[in-house]
Amino acid sequence: MSKLGEVISRNEESIRAEWMKHMTASVLRADLMSKVELEEQSKALLNAIARGVSSGQEDPTGPSWSGARELLQDISASRARQGFTPSETASFVLSLKQPLFSSIRRELPGSQDEMFDALWKCTVLLDKLSLITVETFMATREELISRQQQELLELSTPVVKLWDGILALPIIGTLDSSRTQVVMEELLQTVVATNSKFAIIDITGVPTVDTLVAQHLLKTITAARLMGAECIISGVRPQIAQTIVHLGINLEDVITKAKLADAFALALQKSGRAVVRSSAATNGSAQIIPAGPKEV
């Protein structure tokens, strides 16, 4: 067993007390975490480190450190979710240096070589542990971000039914390939489920339309056409109309309208319905009636 292990196991109590004292000054975020919780975490971590050091294995990525690693990963992941900054999380581990160093200094006063050796090992160990902490912190954040991205993707593509056989798909945000895929699948599935002949794709919320976005739109429209549904693009803003013309995008086979209302009116008309003002009501309420019997 190394000198470091001896030092830690002999002084565990005093190291912990000193660590806590330092931490309350710098690391403790009373708004995010209680002192009791922090004390528990510190005790468990110091225990695990003491166990790891006394196993004789110096590399904290080795198997006898698995307890300490798991504990650190748990602590770090929970802090990432609680809203600690990465440096706050890392300094939780790094703040253990000072109490450890001072106890090494107390325990090994005679030999400079021994003291230096223990200090070096201790530094390397804590640095590695703090790296593990930061890595887990980042991984947790990444996971959070990708989950939110996925949720955003699903949230941002609602297919709504406007009328029997008429769907609307308001697209908000930029259309990229992965989003087009989601939008397309969602739309086609709803077309099948609701047996809709018309789908209005509203691009009012799409900030820019370039050739790529137009290509994605055309793909969606072609796929819908193959299934027997007709697509109408609405919400073409004046600037976007100009861009489309300047880029030379061919939207001639597609029906486009400036407003969603226009597109809806067209879809109603194409499905043999008409909106008329009810003569009985004077407050401007309208009702939709089928425009004459269907020709069969």
């Binding site: 699948e185 047996n195 002949k197 793909k219 796929a223 193959l226 549904a229 020709e295």
Partner: protein
């Protein structure tokens, strides 16, 4: 030999594809459709592919071919009930089947055929009477 049945419904032909298409079957179907149109003087062909879940470029071309052939023989083609996955695949393969008319289900496909054939419907009957 395995064949896809072609049903006659008045002036139209009804083809329901319920098995996985392989190339030989597709070729056979093309031959049969052309044969039947000229034999019965059909005015329209309705192909129901709602049970077709796997499609490749060959099958896509077969559909386009049948449509083109029928047009030459004076009949309209409507493909109905395409699954979303099949539609996406065809688009990704770059096959938008420009000459093919489509509908959501057999019912609306028939409606479409009747609607567009309103005038030639009588002609088709005349033809069959001769």
């Amino acid at each position: 030999m395995e064949r896809i049945p072609i049903l006659r419904m008045g002036p139209f032909l009804l083809i329901t594809i319920q098995v996985d298409m392989h190339d030989k079957l597709a070729m056979q179907l093309q031959d049969d459709v052309a044969q039947r149109i000229s034999e019965w003087g059909s005015a329209g062909v309705l192909i129901d592919i709602s049970s077709l879940e796997i499609v490749d470029s060959f099958i896509g071309r077969m559909l386009a071919n049948i449509a083109a052939m029928s047009r030459v023989l004076g009949a309209d083609t409507v493909v109905v009930g395409m699954q979303p996955a099949v539609a996406i695949t065809l688009v990704e393969l770059g096959m938008s089947l420009p000459g093919v008319r489509t509908a959501l289900n057999v019912e609306s496909g028939m409606e479409l055929l009747y609607g567009t054939q309103g005038i030639s419907l009588g002609a088709a009957h005349d033809r069959s009477e001769i």
